[in-house]
């Protein structure tokens, strides 16, 4: 049952072969068994969760169930959920009980989905390994000595370990796709503006976008049907007609033009990962796709540009945490300035402070033109690269991450090495384009571990339904997405 698709679970619930309470309890039992070692969840609230499951059962009995009614979904702890502790992985918000629901939380509530708990994440979504969380790192279910990726590492581990039916994530520079790649699941970052950011704790507002993390493209499509849609409370939410993201899943791929950017296969890509991606491309040829070589010449600049723009936006967004109205306040202080400075020094972790300082620096008098404005100009060059590329192809493919899951602690003292994890994902955030990671096979690590590799699919603006189709057709002829880790073996038990 834990491996069933969302569609299968929905059918079982509506046929009453299982109740939502039973399904939810079975996930809660797995969580109590495995979460103490994996640490995928920050907050659980069994009574609230089971109350939602009971309400879902009543709704099913009354005959007005929606596709996700009664299905237990894990929510990244970046989404405010009323009366739930909402921490964003930070000491700053360790005691924050949200007084309201994020838009996507109310969307899931409206269809009767069950909130299974709040998942672990890098502090304020700043990280690529989940190691910056105030609540501790998350173990990769495929090998407990490895990181799950980040920042949506808890959601990725929860889906991979089957500690939920599906999960939500957010992606500012790769935070859905890189952990999806490292944990062997399907994750989608939609076009900027498709999913409302209302109630999603802000990191870099011009880049942040929420999306689904699930076992398959079909599951992601069903999640998107709930998550996407106009919301007037987010000033950048796009007012578009409601779309059914499952509508194109079964279309054949014959004639699909797949662009391979040569910059995604250059130096910096692990050979073992490159081999898996090449095999996946061969599979697409068999499905009738035509391969086109393309170039995204400014790919290498996406990291420097991102590490100006995202910290600049973050330094402004995170100025709200001042210890006055909510969040951490220092225990001892002399005057107001001292209260601000101590509360922020104590409430934020090292990586968050580094990014606030970088952001403050690049925005400060005398440096604005050389850094911030320059980065915005190169951002346009990066976006234009994609416009040209999509004149030649329908979707772009390549690796989602340059390597498989790395060992915990390996990059924690070297921010620049950590930042390079997002070399293939950041440019789509800068351009506002949708991107996916799809399980494409396994690569052997130096110590003989078999670790998942994700194929990235980048689409043109609003092309999510086509990308889901492209991923779904691949998942009809491959079984990488149904592989599951052996949790007892991953832990090192016999």
């Amino acid at each position: 049952m834990i491996n069933n698709s969302l569609k299968q679970l929905g059918d079982m619930l509506q046929a009453k072969t299982i109740s939502s309470v039973e399904l939810t309890q079975s996930f809660l039992a797995r969580i109590s068994q495995y979460n103490p070692s994996i640490n995928a969840y920050i907050s659980l609230d069994e009574s609230k969760t089971l109350a939602q499951a009971k309400a879902a059962d009543a709704r099913i009995a009354a005959g007005n169930a929606a596709p996700l009614t009664g299905i237990p979904i894990a929510q990244k702890d970046i989404f405010c959920a009323k009366d739930w502790r909402t921490t964003c992985g930070s000491k700053m918000l360790a005691n924050f009980i949200s007084p309201y629901d994020a838009h996507i939380i109310s969307q899931f509530d409206a269809v009767g989905a069950v909130n299974l708990g709040k998942t672990n994440m890098d502090e304020f979504a700043m990280g690529s390994s989940n190691e910056t969380s105030y609540f501790g790192g998350v173990k990769n279910p495929w090998s407990y000595d490895r990181v799950p990726g980040g920042s949506s590492g808890g959601s990725a581990a929860a889906v991979a370990a089957r500690l939920c039916a599906a999960a939500t994530g957010t992606d500012t520079g790769g935070s859905i796709r890189q952990p999806a790649s490292l944990c062997g699941l399907t994750g989608l970052k939609p076009t900027y503006g498709v999913v409302s950011r209302f109630g999603m704790i802000a990191f870099a507002s011009s880049l942040d976008q929420a999306g689904p993390m699930a076992k398959s493209a079909e599951d992601c499509a069903l999640m998107m049907n709930v998550m996407a849609g106009f919301d007037e409370r987010d000033s950048t939410s796009l007012n578009r007609a409601k779309e059914d993201y499952t509508k194109d899943l079964n279309k054949p791929l014959a004639g699909l033009k797949v662009g391979l950017p040569k910059e995604f296969f250059a130096e910096g890509l692990d050979a073992s990962v490159g081999k898996v991606i090449e095999t996946a491309i061969e599979e697409y040829k068999k499905l009738g796709a035509e391969i086109v070589e393309i170039s995204l010449p400014n790919t290498g600049l996406s990291i420097p540009v991102y590490y100006v723009l995202a910290p600049a936006e973050a330094s402004s967004n995170l100025s709200r945490y001042d210890g006055v109205r909510y969040g951490h306040r220092a225990a001892e202080y002399t005057d107001l300035m001292d209260m601000y400075c101590k509360s922020r020094a104590e409430g934020f972790g090292a990586e968050v402070k580094r990014r606030i300082l970088i952001g403050t620096y690049v925005l400060s008098a005398g440096y604005y033109d050389a850094y911030y404005l320059k980065a915005q100009q190169i951002r346009r060059l990066i976006a234009q690269d994609f416009v040209e590329a999509f004149n030649k192809c329908d979707v772009i493919m390549g690796p989602a991450a340059p390597s498989t899951a790395f060992k915990a602690g390996e990059k924690v003292d070297d921010p620049v090495a950590m930042y390079l994890q997002d070399i293939y994902t950041i440019s789509t955030n800068l351009a506002g384009l949708p991107g996916m990671s799809v399980p494409a096979g396994f690569a052997q690590s130096d110590d003989g571990k078999s670790l998942p590799v994700g194929l990235q699919i980048i689409g043109n603006y609003f092309d999510e339904a086509r990308m889901l189709n492209v991923a779904h057709q691949y998942q009809q002829v491959t079984d990488w997405h149904v592989q599951t880790p052996n949790l007892d073996k991953s832990e090192g038990k016999a």
């Binding site: 924050f96 007084p99 309201y100 900027y192 503006g193 011009s206 000033s235 950048t236 796009l238 007012n239 290498g300 600049l301 990291i303 420097p304 540009v305 590490y307 100025s319 001042d322 006055v324 109205r325 909510y326 969040g327 225990a331 001892e332 202080y333 005057d335 107001l336 209260m339 601000y340 400075c341 101590k342 922020r344 020094a345 934020f348 402070k353 580094r354 606030i356 300082l357 970088i358 403050t360 620096y361 050389a370 850094y371 320059k374 980065a375 915005q376 100009q377 190169i378 951002r379 346009r380 060059l381 976006a383 070297d414 921010p415 620049v416 930042y419 800068l430 351009a431 506002g432 384009l433």
Partner: protein, 104 residues
């Protein structure tokens, strides 16, 4: 260009983050590495390129000027921090938030 300890302290002050001398030294090393990465941008000729601040180049939507929110002050004040300096009470009084005196 090279950052100094003084730069770190100045930026930390602007960002309202207290840094000790030892923190500032460690931060200097890390930030120097990150700025080195960012420096790659300077090799690009960007003359005449319009800066792109956002992927949606649309003007902001306006809404009708009507009341849309209800007063949730009591609800919001439940999250007020602890006052500190020896008090374990919440930093609120009479619907307001308490901070150190700013006007003599």
């Amino acid at each position: 260009m090279a950052l100094s300890i003084e730069d770190i302290k100045k930026v930390a002050h602007l960002a309202r983050i207290e840094v000790s001398d030892s923190d500032a030294a460690a931060t200097l090393t890390k930030l120097t590495g990150i700025l080195g990465l960012i420096e790659q941008m300077q090799a690009v000729d960007t003359s005449g390129i319009e800066p792109m601040s956002h992927s949606q180049e649309l003007s902001q939507r306006l809404r009708d000027d009507v009341v849309t929110k209800t007063n949730l002050r009591d609800e919001f004040q439940k999250n007020a921090p602890v006052l500190g300096n020896g008090s374990t009470e919440q930093a609120v009084a009479g619907g307001l938030y308490l901070v150190p005196k700013v006007i003599e």
